[in-house]
């Protein structure tokens, strides 16, 4: 079975690449959405809450099917990779938004006032006082989301991507070596996720020691 290891490596690269892109966009979408909610921007606020409900209450698999099989029916063709990244970002954006929002909301308004009282502008208070504290509160949830999203990539094979799941299923289909193929799959995900978990734990500890967010 080990002669197929390179297939897993290729697949892991794909998973990681698409996952990283999806996570990056998730963070951007999440940050923008959380700011819309924080500042209670009219109209946009409504759109964001509809998006969040939609995103949280539909499985990624369904979102991918919609993108890959549904959209072409109205003439919109998106590549498998495109579908994977869009789907993951659509899903992750709402989770990241909640993580950022809980951090922002945890900072008392009196911190804003004491910043303003020494003459800082609103933007400066956000940058030097609110964001650093909010971020340190959000970090554990953000890290959990990153791990969650990488695990979610296991449905990418549904849109014809040769990711880890796909390779494993393929090998099982070809050689009936189910046990080995599955073992390799588990190991591959562990190798991907363990370092990220450890890095997350380290980051959380570091932020706490630095005295962030009290």
């Amino acid at each position: 079975m080990s002669e197929y290891a390179h297939l897993y490596v290729e697949a892991a690269k794909l998973t990681l690449g698409l996952g990283a892109a999806g996570i990056l966009f998730s963070l951007i979408i999440g940050l923008v959405c959380s700011l819309v909610q924080y500042y209670k921007i009219p109209v946009l606020k409504r759109i964001v809450s509809v998006y969040i409900e939609l995103s949280r209450n539909t499985p990624l698999l369904v979102q991918l099917f919609f993108l890959y099989f549904g959209l072409p029916k109205i003439g919109i063709m998106i590549s498998s990779e495109g579908c994977a990244v869009i789907g993951l970002s659509f899903l992750g954006g709402s989770y990241m938004a909640e993580a950022f929002r809980s951090g922002l909301e945890a900072i008392e308004n009196s911190q804003m006032e004491s910043g303003l009282a020494i003459g800082l502008s609103h933007a400066q208070v956000m940058r030097y006082i609110i964001f650093p504290q909010a971020l340190s509160i959000s970090v554990p949830a953000l890290c959990a989301n990153v791990i969650f999203l990488i695990k979610e990539t296991s449905v990418f094979s549904a849109v014809a991507l040769a990711d880890l799941m796909y390779v494993a299923k393929d090998l099982i289909g070809l050689y009936y070596q189910t046990d080995e193929a599955l073992l390799m799959l588990v190991i591959a995900y562990l190798i991907l996720l363990l370092p990220i978990s450890l890095a997350a734990a380290w980051l959380e500890r570091r932020l706490r020691y630095a005295g962030f967010g009290n």
Binding site: S114, L116, G119, Y128
Partner: protein, 252 residues
């Protein structure tokens, strides 16, 4: 410094949060070098009054002037005005993610764009003055309440404000820490600082005030020198308020 030069003027201020006026037609002048102590029952609008003075609350009508310039208009550059009006809060409001010295330096570096070395020298001097130089590199959570409040005072002072506002800065402190904070304020008063102080410490008010302002029901009910005010308050309301601070001995 001329003592009867008006530094801060409040004319016919009215403040309403939306369910009836909290401050109705309040007028007050603060002169250079003067220490005003603002007292009154809880909920009478003392904090609101201070917060109007530095624009943390908008006002419904009236006018506020600093150095003869109207600051209550729409075009006020609050960042500039607030450098001249320092404020210290009851709950300290230090920035918990920054060390003591970084708390103090944030304003000078980011607002006034001062040279770091020069600002740091001054920050150290001020911390030394309030007895906290050895704490300059610790985080706020490692400080006692009294120490936090002294840092908060230094953080306001380093901006070189023309006037300082203190909102019940000892109300959240354990009794044994009240004194160390009040001493710092007394020191400032002796040094000629202009201050408006909200407090429930009547002994301190008597010692530090040039004028005592008694606020009740959203208006200034009585204003007098401390001796006159505390010894023979003119209004019923002030008498009643001051009585809540005295106890009759049980033998009498």
């Amino acid at each position: 410094m001329e003592k009867n030069e008006k530094l801060l003027e409040i004319h016919h201020l009215r403040k309403d949060y939306g369910n009836g006026p909290v401050l109705k037609d309040v007028s007050l002048d603060v002169h250079k070098g003067e220490v005003l102590v603002l007292i009154g029952p809880s909920g009478c609008g003392k904090s609101t009054f201070l917060r109007c003075m530095n624009g943390l609350e908008s006002i419904q009508s009236g006018e506020i002037l600093l150095d003869g310039q109207v600051i209550s208009g729409d075009k006020t550059k609050w960042s500039e005005v607030r450098q001249k009006i320092g404020m210290v809060f009851q709950s300290y409001e230090l920035f918990p993610h920054m060390t003591v010295i970084d708390n103090v330096l944030l304003g000078p570096l980011k607002v006034q764009k001062r040279n770091r070395q020069e600002a740091e020298e001054e920050a150290k001097k001020l911390l030394e003055r309030v007895g906290l130089l050895d704490k300059k590199d610790v985080y706020p959570r490692q400080l006692s309440g009294g120490q936090k409040q002294r840092v908060a005072i230094v953080r306001a002072l380093i901006m070189k404000p023309e006037i300082m506002l203190f909102d019940e800065v000892t109300a959240a402190l354990d009794p044994e820490m009240v004194r160390e904070v009040l001493d710092v304020m007394l020191e400032l008063a002796k040094g000629g600082s202009t201050m408006v102080i909200v407090t429930h410490e009547m002994q301190f008010a008597r010692a530090v005030a040039d004028q005592v302002v008694f606020l009740d029901g959203g208006e200034i009910v009585e204003m007098d020198a401390p001796e006159a005010f505390f010894n023979c308050p003119k209004t019923k309301r002030a008498q009643k308020f001051l009585n809540t601070f005295t106890f009759e001995s049980k033998d009498e």
